[in-house]
């Protein structure tokens, strides 16, 4: 993953409400805005706005619900989240390099 494609994902997730929406979609599968708004103090308009930000970053996508065909349902785009996790892999590899330097240092005697 290149930084240029990772950055919008991180930016989109850098908000508590959006993280909450992503968590719910991850746990409960595709949901409508109505479902996402239930049991929260967030308005439908606010949820819709946050979903559009997430959609812009490619984190979620919407489709028509086949069952009643009236309301859009939103689902996670798993691939983009995997990309975001790759960030930790980069730091992990840096630790590998750093510890190899430590190894060279302490074993060189």
């Amino acid at each position: 993953m290149r930084a240029s494609t990772a950055a919008p994902v991180f930016a989109a997730l850098g908000d508590e409400t959006r993280l909450h929406l992503v968590t719910r979609l991850g746990r409960e599968g595709p949901l409508s805005i109505a479902k996402l708004t239930e049991r929260t103090s967030i308005t439908r308009q606010a949820v819709a706005k946050h979903l559009r930000v997430l959609e812009g970053a490619g984190v979620v996508a919407s489709s028509r619900d086949g069952r009643d065909g009236r309301e859009s349902v939103w689902k996670l785009e798993a691939k983009r989240l995997e990309d975001a996790r790759a960030h930790l892999e980069v730091i992990s590899r840096q630790w590998d390099d750093t510890l190899e330097r430590l190894r060279a240092f302490v074993e060189d005697e």
Binding site: A3, H87, V90, A104, E107
Partner: protein
């Protein structure tokens, strides 16, 4: 897969006392880590320093130029002789003119134990989930190139 912590285990073919001094002595730490530190490690105290410039390889030195002399600091957390050393820092906080002091830190812990053939070192860095995601993306960008070049250099230096 967790996004909050990184854990590394490495078996070092060196006595525990040797590994402990390489980690807990700030001068030795700086040598392999690639920083020049201003004093000794003291539990609970901030230590400052700079990313060291290299003289090993002119080409890589040119790539590395943007990071030369950048301020580097962390707060020592715990020092338990020959067992544990930990500190808190701002991961990849090397952007100039940015005040990181209000941001969350990650906790880096080095734990040592004697093992068959040497010393087992476990390094964990935790707390990434509290780091603003925009910052993490930034860190990702900054880390490409600069740190990798530096890593190659230091390895070349200590192995050469």
């Amino acid at each position: 897969m967790t996004t909050d912590r990184i854990e590394k285990r490495i078996l070092l073919k060196a006595p525990l006392a040797r590994v402990w001094s390489a980690i807990s002595d700030s001068k030795q730490f700086g040598t392999w880590f690639g920083v020049e530190l201003d004093g000794p490690f003291v539990a609970g105290q901030r230590i400052t320093g700079r990313i060291v410039p290299t003289k090993v390889d002119a080409d890589v030195a040119a790539q590395q130029k943007p990071f030369e002399g950048r301020a580097f600091d962390f707060v020592v957390d715990r020092i338990e002789p020959e067992r544990l050393f930990s500190f808190r820092w701002h991961p990849a906080a090397i952007e100039e003119g940015v005040d990181y002091s209000k941001e969350e830190t990650t906790l880096v812990t080095f734990e040592l134990e004697t093992a068959e053939g040497g010393t087992l070192l476990r390094v964990t860095e935790s707390g990434f989930d509290k780091i603003p995601l925009a910052r993490r993306a930034k860190a990702f960008t900054m880390n490409e190139g600069g740190w990798e070049a530096q890593t190659r250099l230091v390895r070349k230096y200590v192995e050469g």
